[in-house]
């Protein structure tokens, strides 16, 4: 459905039910509007759809085009959300998966379900923890309990073990074996002690994994704070953002660029800088959505800031928000209408309901009618 709205009065003018947002359908809709409207169109606000743009250029070649700033911001934010999800998967989810993998492998090795696999671990601390596991295994493999005790006590004092992040948790759980459960290194108790030592190692890596999961959930929270418009931020948002930026200092550069991006819309035309600063957000591995969003924004920046020139030439309409954004609440109203009806099944029904809901005339493009009739015939046959 294509909808035209009077930007100054913020009221829908007319709409058309179309089969797709193709250039031919858009041109047909705009041509019908051009013939019907009492006044010529001076200024047109559209989103980033290339088909609508080409339709507008074909029908209204002299009209100045404004690209909706709501869609411009949405485009960048969607790209950044995708990028942050990629970073989260790469830094945290992959890491957490590796910890879980180590845990599963250690259990299956103890049960003798599999031979020792060759692990290709990506993260330093998982590799280190796996090395500790191996060292513990070489100590435990000795036959005499006395020897195992001696080897273990020597190993737990080595710098290799002391430098391990999970050493304290391990030692705590290791001591519990002999203090709480009162086991000793003897022939009889070895079958209980050895599994408990491995369990202590798993307890230590569990702590490390939980730490990582906390960081991951904090990252999920900061992700949306980083993207917030500074003008819409409440004091508690700022407080939280400050707190989380201490945990993730590498996100400061992102925040600075996003704030700069938001302020471009409030700066006077002569002080505005080019969107090329957004390329600082990109790296080789960046998500394709972010790359495409930034290139689209840079390409269309003149049209995004077209509203400033209009404000200068027409001071009366200064601060009319609907000049710079397309009327999204109408789409919301339509969505609600469709939800209430559980979808609509006939074109007549859509036309009637939408027309009354939006209080504007709605017509149906000939292509849609043809297509509808064809579908109906197919169903009947």
């Amino acid at each position: 459905m294509l909808l035209a709205t009077d930007s100054l009065h913020n009221k829908p003018i007319a709409g058309a039910l179309v089969s797709s947002e193709s250039q031919s359908e858009t041109t047909f809709f705009l041509q019908t509007l051009k013939e019907w409207l009492p006044k010529p169109v001076k200024f047109m606000t559209i989103d980033f759809s290339s088909r609508i743009e080409s339709g507008v250029k074909a029908v209204f070649p002299e009209v100045s085009i404004q690209k909706c700033i709501f869609h411009a911001i949405q485009l960048l934010l969607r790209g950044l959300i995708k990028e942050f999800t990629r970073v989260k998967n790469e830094r945290y989810l992959g890491h957490i998966k590796e910890w879980n993998h180590l845990r599963r492998i250690s259990i299956s090795l103890e049960k003798n379900e599999r031979s020792e696999p060759k692990l290709d671990l990506q993260f330093k601390d998982t590799t280190y923890a796996w090395k500790i596991y191996h060292d513990l295994k070489t100590c435990i493999i000795k036959k005499s309990p006395r020897e195992i005790e001696r080897k273990l006590s020597l190993y737990l004092l080595t710098p290799t073990f002391r430098n391990w992040k999970g050493n304290l948790t391990f030692l705590h759980k290791y001591e519990d074996i002999f203090i709480k459960t009162k086991f000793k290194f003897s022939e009889n108790s070895m079958k209980y002690v050895i599994p408990k030592i491995y369990k202590a190692w798993r307890g230590a890596i569990r702590e490390l994994r939980l730490e990582l999961e906390t960081i991951k959930s904090q990252f999920n929270k900061i992700k949306y704070l980083i993207l917030m418009n500074p003008k819409n931020m409440k004091p508690y948002h700022r407080k939280k953002l400050k707190k989380y930026l201490k945990i993730f200092p590498w996100l400061r550069s992102y925040r600075k660029i996003i704030v700069k991006f938001y302020y471009q819309f409030h700066l006077p035309l002569e002080k505005r800088s080019s969107f090329s600063f957004l390329t600082q957000l990109l790296s080789e591995n960046s998500h394709p959505w972010l790359k495409s969003a930034i290139s689209t924004l840079i390409e269309n920046q003149e049209q995004i800031f077209q509203f400033k020139q209009i404000y200068v030439s027409n001071p009366k309409i200064k601060n009319v928000k609907s000049i710079k954004v397309v009327n999204e609440p109408i789409n919301k109203a339509l969505h609600q209408l469709f939800q209430t009806q559980n979808g609509m099944r006939t074109l007549e029904n859509i036309r009637m309901r939408v027309s009354h809901r939006l209080k504007c005339p709605i017509f149906i493009s000939p292509d849609t009618i043809e297509r509808f009739n064809y579908q109906a015939k197919l169903k009947r046959s």
Binding site: D6, L8, T32, I52, V326, L347, H356, I369, A376
Partner: protein, 174 residues
Amino acid sequence: MEERNEDGIEVEIREHSDADFYPTSCPSCYTSDIRRHTYKVRFIQDLGTPRICRRIRYERVYFKCKNCERVFGIEHPLIPIGSNYMPGVIEYAISRVLERGDSIRRVVRDLNELHHVNVSVVSVERWVNKSGRKEQIPNDLSEEDPPSQFSGFMSVDGTFKAVKTKKNDHDLEV
């Protein structure tokens, strides 16, 4: 006149009669020699509240011209001829469906349960289709009046929703 039914809901009955608007002349011979001929009583449903059920006791009166002996009726200003519902009920249903976008079934349920108007889904659908000119399939804006206060600033946007055709959907004729 007020009664209470078995559910404890107050039934409020208002009375209207064609005799209140006694005709001054015969519609065919225009003489004023008219007498009351016969009458029929109908109960018409009106919008009630959750605790009050409203009904209209409508006396449809037929008059007879003494001169040409023609029997005729008049159109009551508040009650349309042949209607079982007050115009307010129909207006309420249409505005809920077409202006607020509520579903017909929802409106019928509200009418039945909250307003004590016994009405079927098909009836409301018929009112809505008639009022919304559902049968019209315009493929341009030639029959519509252009906006009187168009500013020259326009925004165009597209929104897409899936439409499923009914199995026995008919061809659209333009």
